[in-house]
Symmetry: C2
Amino acid sequence: MLKYILLGFLNYQPMTGYDLKRLVDGSTAHFWHAYHSQIYTTLRKMEQDGLVTSIIDNSDERLERRIYDVTELGKSKFKQWLGKSLTELPPSKDSLLVRLFFSGSRDRSSVLDELRFQRQLRQQQLELYRQIKPEKSPAESDLIDFDREAKFWRMTLDLGLAYEQMYLKWLDETIAKIESF
Amino acid sequence: MLKYILLGFLNYQPMTGYDLKRLVDGSTAHFWHAYHSQIYTTLRKMEQDGLVTSIIDNSDERLERRIYDVTELGKSKFKQWLGKSLTELPPSKDSLLVRLFFSGSRDRSSVLDELRFQRQLRQQQLELYRQIKPEKSPAESDLIDFDREAKFWRMTLDLGLAYEQMYLKWLDETIAKIESF
DNA sequence: GGCGGCATGTAAACAGTTACATGATTCC
DNA sequence: GGAATCATGTAACTGTTTACATGCCGCC
């Protein structure tokens, strides 16, 4: 999956691993995050597979930057991937729910502390989403063609917002339930 | 993570890999799914690590069933894990959103087809959740102590229901938006 | 002088997925 | 007779995470 995210961004412009990391953090991280280590190794793998090429930029003298660009093969594989619709629900994984599921034997206060802390984090995440303006940029404004692109970005952000609000509501209800046990 | 789910279930009763697979499918799969292959290999790994023991049951003659039971070490590791609260938001991954994010270059009809199909799947998932009654059982009713346990199970199910409803609403809105481009 | 951020990567471990494999029983 | 489900597992691969590693620059 990460492979396609990187191809997707490289379609806009050649970039370094670090640029890609920032783009991912500023946009797709909310529904697909990646560590820098994975980005660098995936780029190397993609180069071996002929999906991207890289050149070393020494213009800065003291720092070597490897700039990646997508190849024709990369472009076609990306389009191929976009062309094949998902036919299943993406599986979701939520370790908080796993923990709650098995919390029958835990102290009430311990469970409540955990849920209240998650509530804080969700609230912060919601504020963060609210500050994002897709009209302006996904961290690197001028890279991307913002007619159609921004609309799709906006839609994914809308789900993020709805998700956090739903989650907060559920946390509040769940905390209240446990308090009244 | 799967390790703790398996320990959690084995705390109720000794079981085979297949029993665990069914329990997972009938309860935690909505927030943490696992393939049978992973369950079997994880159980072997856990046995090596001393978290569980297994005995081979030949009572059936034609079929060898390996029955796993949690050890004291397994029980204590499980409690230790439950004791350490999550301090971060569990990362979420949703490949549909990745695809939508990069759908600026796609045909409108292709995106719409994909979203409409996801809508169907989400609707089915919602119906499925609505049929689940935690009061009755998580597939194997008599295994579990259903005072406190069922309440926590119910809470995770509530999130599943809220999630599907939120997702359906977002899909409807998003489909409408794309239709009106 | 120390800290944080920029910028790059590798290595090892762990987790998860897909494919292969077998054989019995039950339902149509 | 064939398909589906029960029931068990292994092997190979892919993907992800954590830890290790380095060195510069700018700020306080």
